[in-house]
């Protein structure tokens, strides 16, 4: 099996006034292609920061990240954007749909950015898969939280990514809706053979992944494999 994500001795600090706060320190781990991977830890442990760095949304102060064969430190912002467009899918806690675009348009955007001419058709299919075919022309504000997260799921898979980053995907949903969304996420992931990296503090959700990376105070507490398949 090959690694899709290699993180070596990663360090990230933020300055707050005159103080420098180390958010991540000496983080090293790898994710195999096609695996499911959870990053867990209490609030402030650096989970979301790590996810942002792995996805190329931010730059590290030290260490290296290799994503889909590209060293992130060697790419400029636009090159990282293109890498995300080609290889990465995202799911966020607060959905992050474009409020002025309909559900269908939201799902089409990643494909349109690639210049695909079947964007609309494929987006419609994906909305069908997440059970929202009849809501495709609704704006995000006209959808419930669960529906919005399903649109976000469809969007995350629309560019057939190699790796999908999910930041607390059920954090804003009730238990029942959250469960449905997670089920859908794992089903779609299995079907597409995508690598899945989830940031969560929900132990049940983490247990459904093959690997768990536990963080505390910006350091790795443990990196374990589970029995999940």
């Amino acid at each position: 099996m090959t690694n899709i994500l290699n993180v070596q001795q990663l360090k990230k600090t933020y300055s707050s006034g005159t103080k420098t706060i180390t958010v991540l320190d000496d983080i090293t781990f790898s994710v195999f292609r096609g695996d499911t991977f959870a990053i867990v830890g209490p609030s402030g442990s650096g989970k979301t920061t790590l996810l942002g760095l792995c996805a190329g949304l931010d730059q590290a102060d030290a260490g290296s990240i290799e994503l889909c064969g590209s060293q992130m430190a060697h790419l400029n912002e636009d090159q990282r954007a293109l890498l995300r467009n080609k290889e990465v899918g995202f799911i966020f806690q607060d959905f992050q749909l474009l409020p002025t675009l309909t559900a269908l348009e939201n799902v089409s955007v990643p494909l349109e950015l690639q210049g695909a001419n079947h964007a609309r058709q494929f987006a419609n299919e994906l909305l069908g898969k997440v059970g929202l075919a009849d809501r495709s022309h609704h704006y995000p504000s006209q959808l419930s939280g669960g529906e919005q997260q399903r649109v976000a799921l469809a969007r995350a898979f629309s560019n057939s990514p190699s790796i999908l980053f999910a930041d607390e995907p059920t954090g804003n949903l009730d238990e029942e809706t959250g469960e449905k969304v997670v089920q859908l996420l794992f089903d779609l992931n299995r079907e597409a053979g995508t690598t899945l990296v989830i940031v969560t503090h929900d132990p049940d959700l983490a247990k459904r992944t093959q690997h768990i990376l536990r963080l505390k105070g910006g350091k790795i507490l443990e990196n374990v494999s589970t029995m999940a398949t």
């Binding site: 949304l57 889909c68 090159q79 890498l83 992050q96 990643p110 690639q114 210049g115 504000s141």
Partner: protein
């Protein structure tokens, strides 16, 4: 990767699609942005288009405006040399003598100062005399009738067949004169025209020494004659003989220049409206883009490059600008149809309006260009926003945006400078205009920053919750203090400056009313008539207030150099009018109220020996390039008189009284051929009319100016000018209000979440309303107060430096503008809270989130 993924495949069509998708869902929020650009462009296009049409009409109608291809005119009958030139040109096709005189209408027992025009030959050679009945335009010549100005006919209830007495001759009225080449409603309202055949002028007995006449000779040229060339060669020769050549091309140029100035002023007012519109663009786009930054971060997360996300919004703004430009241009073209109605009396002809290409292209280009330029600063935010915003809000803008910020700011200033330079055509004015704007913005921004700092430092912790919340809103993150204070301040500043300037212009022309101010002026009183005229006035209990002698003379030499030499010297910078003008000079022993000494020594009376010490008005001294001690020789009707500049005076020409460029001391000109101006003060219009009638009967050569009438005439003209200014200012005011609505309404999206949150926490409607009301009240009062104070300062500078007059500010801006604008800000601000107060919190958040 770096080699393979350097280009995104989504091209222009995707960017346009995204711009359209996003724009149609956000259009409502950009409506005011559109309104700002529409009003600004409409104002500018209407004025530009009308100016272009006017210019074109002047060129097309220049011959009809003059009534000839070219005219030779002079203040006296042509001397031999001028006559020889006239003959060499094949003789004139028409000639005219005109002068001001009193006319009386025996049937109506009325008198009036008129412009008598004695005409002979085919005048007008182009255009026509429009009369009622039409046949009167030619018939009057045959039997010696008079064509009388239409308004005057109406005023005195005159009809065809009545008579008019001019000097010693009585003419039957042949018809009503509706229009003649070259006259405007304005000029004819000062001294309405009466046209009579030239051959009858002698018989009126009015062509005598001292009375001011103008002789004009009208020519028709062959098509191959180069008028420009003739003007260049012949005009200096005629100038030397006290005559003048006017070709229809030079007249159209002169007229063009005159209306160009009017156009420039109006253009500037329109430009101010446009600039206000630009403030509107900047403030509405600022908030709009701020709300879009999260969407931009999402797009970047999904793989959009910086360029792509930037261009989506750039295209959106440019598209809105183009739409605004199109609507504004069409609006401007429709609006220009109103201009001939508004400016009617100032124009010497009917303006034919056509579609001028330049203003249309300008309107469309400016719509796009200004929208993009003024939106660029907030738009740059899309370039620098990090995709990390999706995960967590970042407060700091990257440092590299600072350079872009200053570059854009520089471009905006450069544009304002270049555009005002193009409009005003004077480097100093354009620089002053830009400096004024920069200083105003800087002061207002400084006040806003200082205000926030002071509120923060001396925060009144003991105040009630609502009062504290409203104050907190002024300086906490996402506050609108700077944007709103700038928008309110600049808007109030421009409107208030326009008001104060109008005040300065109008105040300059008011007549001082006191016992010593005359209201009747008797001109052309011959020396031998002086005592008998006075005897006619004083028995009525009226006083002769002034008895001003006038002697006419020309400059013979300046500092020893004959004027002929100076004329031929191409390097001389002495103003030509000094060399050619026939000066009307008086002599007296003291300064009058409108004068003050600038330099030298005032000599009341001539002492024997040496050159005569005279006093010059400062503008004459500048134009003649002389200082105290320099010599000037005058030709006083054939007698040479050596003088020396004894003093230089400041003269307030704006005062309604007889002012003089040159004043001699007593004891020099008493025996020179002269005429007199007498003034008196009549208690009523009726007494004035009666006195005028009797004086005209006894002294037909004396012209009488009724200052009361002139004043009401001037007031009428100023009212019309004020109307035009107000009409244009209306655009600025309307755009200002729209900017205000835009700025306040866009801040709605900042406040709405906080209000909903407060409501969720249990705040009552009245509390939310009070917090909002107080916040906008502070901003309204502060913005409008400092806007007015700044305009007061700039108006004082304008009064001192440009209009050179004292300025007593009116209280109206403080009493009306200050509370008016504050209330407007308050009303718009409170209307924002309506949706928060009337709906459940969640519904509001969902609706506003779109």
């Amino acid at each position: 990767m770096s080699g393979t993924a350097s280009n995104s495949k989504a091209g222009l069509s995707w960017l346009l699609k995204m711009a359209w998708r996003d724009g149609k869902a956000s259009g409502r929020r950009l409506f005011l942005f559109m309104a700002s650009i529409i009003l600004g462009i409409a104002a500018l296009v209407s004025i530009q288009s009308f100016s272009d049409n006017l210019e074109e009409n002047i060129v097309l109608q220049s011959k009809a405006l003059m009534g000839a291809d070219y005219i030779i005119d002079s203040n006296h009958l042509p001397n031999e040399k001028v006559q020889a030139i006239i003959d060499s040109l094949g003789g004139a096709a028409g000639r005219e003598v005109n002068f001001a005189s009193m006319a009386s209408f025996p049937e109506k027992n009325a008198t009036k100062l008129v412009q008598v025009r004695g005409i002979e030959g085919g005048f007008p050679l182009y255009g026509e005399l429009e009369t009622t009945p039409a046949i009167a335009a030619t018939a009057y010549q045959g039997y010696g009738g008079a064509l009388v100005d239409a308004t005057m006919m109406l005023q005195f209830g005159l009809k065809q067949g009545d008579s008019v007495k001019i000097g010693e001759t009585t003419f039957p009225i042949a018809g009503r004169l509706d229009s003649a080449p070259g006259s405007t409603a304005l000029t004819s309202s000062v001294a309405p025209a009466i046209i009579v055949p030239y051959r009858f002028i002698e018989g009126t007995g009015l062509l005598q020494l001292g009375s001011r006449q103008e002789y004009s000779y009208y020519f028709k040229s062959s098509p191959d004659l180069d008028l420009e060339e003739m003007d260049k060669t012949l005009d200096p020769v005629l100038d030397a003989e006290g005559a003048d050549l006017d070709t229809h091309t030079s007249t159209s140029r002169r007229l063009g220049r005159r209306y160009d100035n009017v156009g420039k002023f109006l253009n500037l007012v329109a430009f101010i409206a446009l600039l206000l519109g630009c403030v509107g663009i900047a403030s509405s786009v600022h908030i709009y883009i701020k709300e879009k930054l999260r969407a931009v971060a999402i797009l970047k997360c999904l793989g959009a490059t910086r360029k792509q996300s930037f261009f989506i919004y750039l295209l959106q703004i440019a598209g809105m600008g183009l739409a605004g430009g199109i609507i504004g241009t069409v609006g401007g073209l429709i609006l220009q149809l109103l201009f001939p109605v508004i400016l009617g009396e100032f124009l010497p002809f009917e303006v034919q309006l056509t579609l001028a290409v330049k203003p249309i292209v300008m309107g469309l280009l400016l719509g796009v260009f200004l929208s993009v330029l003024f939106a660029m600063l907030p738009l740059m935010g899309t370039w620098y926003v990090s995709p990390l915003q999706v995960l967590r809000v970042q407060e700091h803008t990257p440092k590299s945006s600072r350079r872009a910020y200053f570059m854009i700011l520089g471009s905006i200033l450069l544009f304002i400078f270049l555009f005002s330079l193009w409009l005003l055509q004077r480097l100093q004015y354009a620089l002053a205009f830009v400096a004024g704007i920069v200083v105003t913005f800087a002061i207002l921004a400084g006040i806003a920053a200082l205000f926030m700092k002071l509120v923060k430092k001396y925060f009144p912790n003991s105040w009630s919750f609502t009062a504290r919340q409203s104050l907190l809103n002024l300086f906490r993150p996402n506050n609108q203090t700077m944007t709103l204070l700038l928008a309110i301040g600049v808007g109030t500043f421009l409107i208030s400056t326009l008001y104060f300037t109008k005040d300065i212009l109008l105040a300059k022309a008011t007549l001082e009313e006191n016992a010593n101010s005359p209201n009747l002026m008797l001109l052309d009183v011959q020396t031998e008539q002086r005592d008998s005229v006075a005897r006619n006035i004083t028995p009525r209990g009226l006083r002769i207030i002034d008895n001003i002698p006038i002697v006419t003379m020309r400059v013979q030499s300046i500092k020893g150099r004959p004027v002929d030499d100076i004329r031929e010297d191409t390097t001389s910078t002495i103003n030509q009018w000094i060399l050619n003008h026939e000066f009307r000079v008086t002599y007296r022993d003291s300064l009058i109220a409108s004068e003050s000494l600038i330099s030298g020594k005032w000599t009341p009376e001539m002492t024997p020996g040496g050159a005569i010490p005279i006093s010059l008005a400062d503008n004459v001294a500048i134009d003649a390039q002389v200082a105290v001690g320099d010599t000037i020789d005058f030709n006083v009707q054939g007698v040479l008189m050596k003088t020396v500049v004894g003093s230089i005076r400041y003269v307030d020409w704006g005062r309604m009284q007889l002012n003089f460029s040159i004043v001699f001391p007593k004891g020099v000109l008493e025996n020179a051929p002269q005429f007199h101006v007498l003034t008196t003060k009549t208690p009523s219009a009726k007494a004035s009319a009666q006195l005028q009638r009797e004086l005209v009967r006894a002294f037909p050569n004396v012209s009488i100016i009724d200052l009361r009438q002139i004043l009401s005439l001037i007031e009428g003209i100023l009212d019309k000018i004020a109307w035009v200014i107000n009409f244009m200012a209306f655009f600025s005011i309307l755009t200002g209000i729209i900017v205000l609505i835009g700025a306040v309404r866009t801040s709605k999206y900042q406040r709405i979440k906080e209000s909903v949150l407060l409501r969720t926490l249990g705040a009552k409607n009245a509390q939310i309303l009070k917090i909002t009301a107080l916040e906008y009240l502070y901003l309204g009062i502060l913005g409008s107060l400092f806007g007015i104070l700044l305009s007061l300062l700039s108006s004082m500078l304008l009064a001192a430096l440009v209009f050179e007059t004292a300025f007593t500010p009116s209280w109206i801006p403080f009493l009306i503008l200050l509370p008016g604008i504050t209330l407007l800000v308050l009303a718009i601000g409170l209307s924002n809270s309506r949706s928060v107060l009337n709906s459940p919190p969640l519904e509001v958040l969902r609706k506003e989130g779109r």
